[in-house]
């Protein structure tokens, strides 16, 4: 059994013994075969010395047990790495950022504590997956939707805290943005509730996210200032109808008015669904008349409203010369089983795992290595920026891909978040160490090249979190230094998720 860095075997054994007393011997994992279950299955360093590995895992079942575990860790200065469902694949999975950390596995904290259909919110624990919340709501017959991300086994809390997004309507698909109230265990074991939760017996914890005074919830997004043990989320009342439209334009430069029109419609909350945007510069062999850009603009709401909005959306897009506009099928909810099986489920608030078909082995990709990581810089939501990115990608692709030897997937332009675009490029990752090394180098190169253009990522795989954090360097890394100051104050022994998103405790900082 490995021991955490700078922790004596005796101290570690004392802590393990205390944790067994707290959570039960069955929920403290120290055998090699059990610790191996916490490896990141998609690690770009799989089986290499740099792979991030846990020393043990502890799985509390309540906030009181989390507090007790954290107090012991703090006493012995043992680094903990909190996971919720541990399914953050492509971003580190259930493995720690700092090797030797003890994984604090919160999967057993799996209670849906409250769902209000009347006020459209939920309060959940970290181990609750999107499947769990969906099943709870369905079983209770409540008329609200969740907003699933691609993989439904992810944690509702974990996805929000990692900066994830989903596929239904604004504002619900920005998962952190749609949260309302947290309960957090600090490094000293103390419990804090944010927003209205700070008011004893407040009936409005999930009704008002701001409460009173400086708002601290952001410290726990992609952070390591505390362990979130409860979190509230706004839910969408089931929309009566859904309809999308397909807008196609033949010229590359049409993306400028296309995005301007989309932005107006989104910023007025006329189009509230997650927009699809595909295309880019056409090669010399592109068929005549093939569209340069295809956009889908979905609308959720009452049927009458959806139909009226769709007419308005058509009118606006048709003002762009040469644009083709096609209304999609109008769906009335709830969908019957047959209809649900022919649509993309997550767009209808139904979680699934079909996304793994995109990069896993399939008829379209029979030799897929299995895993992947994603490079996903944030761009301004303008056609000019998108065209600049497409030129940038085309100009650098041959070099970064080693003449095409490395096959990236993308870019896929995501509009989950308002006001910006995310250009997602995915890198296949498997068990071929030489190929993984090439992919790592390519990833780093894309980060550097993009940063030089003023573009950086919204989220990053664990092994690249430092690299990306370094690109947010305005004024000699002033933001990183501010975060470090706060980290030192709230976690002076640096025991909570060291290194997560580039925030290291004092004793582990480089330079």
């Amino acid at each position: 059994m490995p021991t955490p860095p700078n922790v004596s075997t005796a101290a570690f054994n004392t802590a393990l013994s205390a944790w067994r007393q707290t959570v039960g011997a069955d929920w403290v994992f120290t055998k090699d075969e059990d610790i191996a279950l916490y490896r990141d299955a998609y690690s770009p360093y799989w089986d290499e010395p740099e792979e991030r590995l846990a020393s043990a895992a502890v799985a509390p079942a309540s906030v009181e047990e989390v507090q007790a575990v954290v107090r012991v860790a703090n006493q012995h200065r043992i680094p903990l790495y909190a996971i919720s469902t541990g399914r953050n694949l492509a971003y580190g999975g259930s493995a720690p950022v700092y090797s030797g950390s003890v994984v604090l596995d919160l999967k057993r904290m799996n209670r849906v504590l409250d769902v209000s259909a009347r006020n459209a919110y939920a309060l959940v624990e970290p181990g609750v997956s999107y499947f769990d919340l969906y099943n709870h709501i369905t079983k209770a017959g409540l008329d609200v939707w969740i907003d699933p991300p691609d993989p439904g086994w992810g944690s509702v809390i974990g996805n929000a805290l990692d900066g994830g997004g989903g596929w239904t309507a604004y504002p619900f698909r920005d998962h952190f943005g749609a949260h309302c109230g947290m309960e957090v265990v600090l490094a000293n074991g103390e419990v804090v509730r944010t927003g209205m939760g700070a008011l004893p017996n407040s009936p409005s914890w999930q009704h008002n996210r701001w409460g009173y005074g400086p708002w601290v919830d952001g410290l726990f997004r992609q952070g390591n200032m505390g362990i979130v043990t409860k979190m509230g989320f706004y839910l969408m009342p089931r929309p009566e109808a859904f309809q999308t439209s397909t807008i196609q334009a033949s010229r590359e430069e049409d993306i400028v008015p296309l995005l301007d029109t989309l932005n107006l419609l989104e910023n007025q909350i006329v189009v509230n669904g997650s927009t699809g945007l595909f295309g880019g510069p056409r090669g010399p062999n592109a068929p005549a008349g093939a569209p340069a850009w295809t956009m889908q603009a979905p609308i959720y709401g009452p049927e009458k409203v959806v139909r009226a909005k769709m007419e308005h959306v058509r009118d606006l897009f048709m003002k762009i010369p040469g644009v083709r506009f096609t209304e999609g099928e109008l769906f009335r909810t709830p969908l019957d089983a047959a209809t649900l099986n022919r649509v993309r489920k997550v767009s209808f608030g139904v979680p699934d795992l079909s996304t793994f078909g995109m990069l896993g082995r399939s008829a379209a990709n029979p030799n897929a290595p299995g895993g992947h990581i994603g490079f996903s810089p944030i761009l301004p939501r303008t056609g000019e920026a998108l065209l600049e990115f497409t030129r940038f990608y085309a100009e650098n692709l041959a070099t970064v891909s080693e003449g095409g030897a490395l096959r990236f997937v993308g870019p896929v332009y995501m509009t989950n978040w308002e006001r910006s675009l995310v250009a997602l490029i995915m890198f296949p990752i498997g068990r071929d160490k030489a190929m993984n090394a090439k992919m790592r180098n390519a990833f780093t190169r894309w980060v550097e090249l993009a940063a030089a253009k003023g573009w950086a990522e919204y989220r990053a795989p664990a092994i690249f979190q430092d690299v990306v954090a370094d690109t947010y360097s305005f004024n000699n890394h002033a933001l990183t230094r501010l975060r470090e100051t706060i980290k030192d104050a709230v976690d002076p022994n640096g025991i909570l998720s060291p290194g997560r998103y580039g925030v290291w405790p004092k004793h582990l900082r480089k330079g």
Binding site: A41, F131, E329, R344, S354, R361, S362, A368
Partner: protein, 120 residues
């Protein structure tokens, strides 16, 4: 070009009307309620059922080229030990499952359920 094909596949996945009608599933019919079936439904069915949108089934169809059934519950060649190995070690895109997700007791029930038609 392969990359272009993958991008098209990615785009297709993002399209709201890409999935065709589900194929009729015979998997699990008449299996009877039990702990193993419950674990299967919770953890395996989302990838390994029949019909489109099941990446585990799609992957196994490519792997075995239809020489053996792609739907897990239609398999007759799996024994419990093999099922347990795949669950704890993972394979291809499927990560291993931790004991906080599937306990050893649940795994035994699951393995017996999935291997119910397998060699004795």
């Amino acid at each position: 070009m392969r990359v272009a094909g993958l991008v098209a596949a990615a785009a297709a996945l993002l399209s709201p009307a890409v999935f065709g009608a589900d194929a009729a599933s015979t998997a699990g019919a008449g299996a009877g309620a039990g702990a193993g079936e419950a674990v299967y439904q919770r953890w395996c069915s989302h990838c390994h059922s029949a019909g489109r949108g099941n990446p585990g089934t799609d992957s196994l169809r490519v792997k075995y080229a239809d020489r053996i059934p792609a739907v897990l519950l239609d398999r007759t060649d799996l024994n419990a030990a093999a099922v347990a190995t795949f669950v704890r070690q993972g394979v291809q895109s499927m990560p291993p499952f931790r004991k906080t997700e599937i306990t050893d007791a649940e795994l035994a029930a699951l393995a017996a359920y999935v291997a119910k038609n397998g060699p004795r």
